[in-house]
Amino acid sequence: MNIRKSMMLWVVLILMFTAACSNSNGTATPKEGVDSGTNQPSDAKKPEETYKITGATYIFGNPPPKDGRGQKMLNEKFNVDYFAEKIPNDNFVEKITAMVAGGSMPDQISFRSTNMDLFNRWAEQNAFFPLNDYIEEFDYLKAIPDELWLPFTVNGKIYGIPTWSPVESQSFMVRKDWLDNLGLPVPTSYEELKKVAIAFTKDDPDQNNKQDTYGLAIGQDINPTFAMGPYWQHDTWYHQDAEGNYIPGLISEGRKELISFFHDLYKEKALTSDFAVVNWADTNNEFYSGKAGVFLIAPRGMSQDYMEALLAIDPKAEFVVLEPFAAPDGSQGFTAGAGFSRFLTLNAKLANQPDKVRKMLEIHEFSRQYYQASKVTPDNKDFDWFYGNEGVGYNLDENNVRVPINDPASGTEPFLYFIDSTAWIGPEDDAEYPHAYSEPKLIDATQQLVDINKKYKLYYPPHVGIISAKETEVGAELTQLLMNEQTKMITGNRPVSDWDAMVQEYMSRGGAKIIEEYNAEIKARGYTERLWK
């Protein structure tokens, strides 16, 4: 009986095995176009071929349906059968991996900046189409500065087209009305900020005779950073070790100062008391409910809903944006943003279809045109078409700001269907961040931030776009380790004097190797002196 059973098990196992093998043989010769299941037009007789262009990218929120009005307009305008699949951000990597491994890699993929390791791995395997020869052909590619091509250059070949994101830095805003009530000046150093935060906690800044306010709104993973310059910033490479190698901010002297600053505030209850377990949404709530007095402000992406809620709770609220603090080494300014957020890659199989590549780049160029909000009118045909025609897809408000008429899920506007519809805002263009909002106080705060960014030089860190093998392997784990230990230091569960031991642990668990790999690449790029511009 037992023999029979085990025989049977073997038969099953062998069956499974052969099935698996034949399966993988089948994928070695992938069939194209089986996956999408769309009706492929067979009108090859037309003078210009109607290309079927597939694509995939990530999305936050919900995308429009496949057959919306905007999609039809797009296909008609460019004479293509275009489809860019939008994958929920959280599962983007899993799905795109399954698609590529399953032999249905789309013609174009727009990755997130956090997918650099995936990009590098596939680029090494020649999965992408090299764009070097096409850059001279397209003005929009020529406009991309050299340093932004660097992260996408693998073995001399350029595989990715970066999408614009602001270089302007974020800063922190303070409740101006509270400062005025207490007669305090706008802080210009951590010493002064500490005094302000403690006064916000103890001296009843909102004058309601209750101790219901405090200083800094902060959440888990010590976020936001409250770094008032690259000297203190944890996610940039600014400090150098004894040998002149750049080191990550998370283990730097500046970070140590910042952690002991937080520790002092924690003792005085001047920052979110249970910050170690507060998620990002709740951190926002701490500030926008009028409890905390200092919080993050970024050049774009602030939530007007939350700001309006705060102003309803406390109509007298005023905001002042902090300027960068002077660092012990004499520097003063913020760190520049990476300058790219997403990036587009093309499928290596397009090598024998140069005309299709040109078509794709032409569409990409179109979708990246920048329409300056204060100047554009519906007379601009491209603008009007892109946003689904005035009166149907959008209206302009009194400030000439575009207001969409429909929910994105209705699919009325063509711009919803492009793989990448982020405008490229060149150095000579005005991004007009305040135009994104209609709430005057939010506009004012954003304008303050823009002015501060103009006033100071920005630090351009050397590490952007570098991939270290060791970091891919253990980086996330080590970052979490440091975050946890530093959280303990803030709450007093571990003394700040243990800092060197913590750094040592980081080094021995792979940090040293990460630093070595980064610096090799930094030197290869020729980056020596810190770059401010």
């Binding site: 919900n62 929920p88 799905k95 249905s104 993973d221 950073t225 809620a309 705060l310």
Partner: protein, 292 residues
């Protein structure tokens, strides 16, 4: 009936009181979600905890029901749940019944079923199967690959085995075919089992999430769980990397009131199924626990 002492009654009273409190505690999160969804954002921000809305507001529900994608996805999920549960039950019950009969290869097939419990094929092989069978971007991709749960199949088979063989033999003598026996004898006797596993399958289909993302490329076909997650979940995972603050900010989810309303609307329908199956359920979960 024996007269109980004062002490005994006091203990009973205490027990009842404690149990009621615990039951109420279980309800708290639901009440909280309900209350937040009917409050204004301003109230939610200002108060630490909302147990009952002070100012009733239906803005959140208006926002949800004005969104095409949300309504569409509810219907998609209802479709998947109804059709999927029917398909699952039919396939599971017929296969389980077949496996109770002494037919050629029955043991091999059973072994293969058990094999899939122990060893899962993994995401990419299943993706390939779905792709090559042409199910990609159809709702069937959410129904067929998960039509039969091996575990449920074995438990139902066990239940069928517990029905005395004499019953089907009697049917056979009366001239019933196998199908007739299955339909008129076995199924009526298995109602509790089928109701229980029907509920398991229904909940499973209602909660379909990852398959929706993996196999569907048209957002109009997304089930409610995918749409809901896109509404509710903020990208927390990247917060440790810090440098992504900008992306985080740019993709602020809608206010918490809308999130709560969405959660409620997405949970309520499947919650309502429970009371109707309750009477079968208590019997059903004990299936196979005692063999006689």
């Amino acid at each position: 009936m024996l007269k109980r002492t004062l002490g005994e009654r006091a203990i009973d009273g205490l027990n009842i009181a404690i149990l009621i409190i615990i039951a109420c505690l279980m309800l708290l999160p639901f009440i909280h979600i309900l209350s937040v969804s009917f409050s204004s954002l301003q109230d939610v921000l200002q108060k630490d905890f909302i147990l009952w809305p002070t100012n009733w507001a239906s803005d959140a529900y208006l926002a949800i029901f004005a969104s095409d994608s949300f309504i569409r996805s509810i219907f998609v999920t209802i479709y998947i749940t109804v059709v999927g549960t029917a398909v699952s039950l039919i396939l599971t019950a017929t296969m389980a019944y077949g496996l109770t009969r002494k037919v050629l290869g029955q043991r091999v097939i059973l072994l293969m079923v058990i094999f899939t419990i122990l060893f899962n094929a993994g995401m990419i092989p299943i993706y390939l199967v779905v792709k090559e069978t042409g199910l990609m971007n159809t709702l069937w991709a959410l129904i067929i690959p998960s039509a039969i749960s091996s575990f449920n199949l074995i438990v139902i088979r066990q239940f069928f085995l517990s029905i005395p063989n004499e019953l089907s033999e009697a049917a056979l003598i009366d001239g019933a075919s196998e199908i007739r026996t299955f339909w008129s004898i076995i199924i009526p006797l298995s109602k509790p089992a089928l109701a229980t596993f029907g509920l398991f399958y229904a909940v499973g289909h209602w909660n379909k999430y990852f398959e929706g993302i993996l196999y569907l490329n048209d957002a109009a076909k997304w089930p409610i769980q995918v749409v809901l997650r896109q509404i509710v979940i903020m990208n927390e995972a990247t917060s440790t990397l810090g440098s992504d603050v900008m992306a985080q900010l740019e993709n602020q989810p809608p206010p918490v009131t809308i999130q709560m309303a969405a959660i409620l609307v997405a949970t309520l329908p499947i919650l309502l199924v429970y009371p109707f199956l309750q009477k079968h359920f208590a019997k059903g979960v004990m299936i196979g626990s005692v063999k006689g």
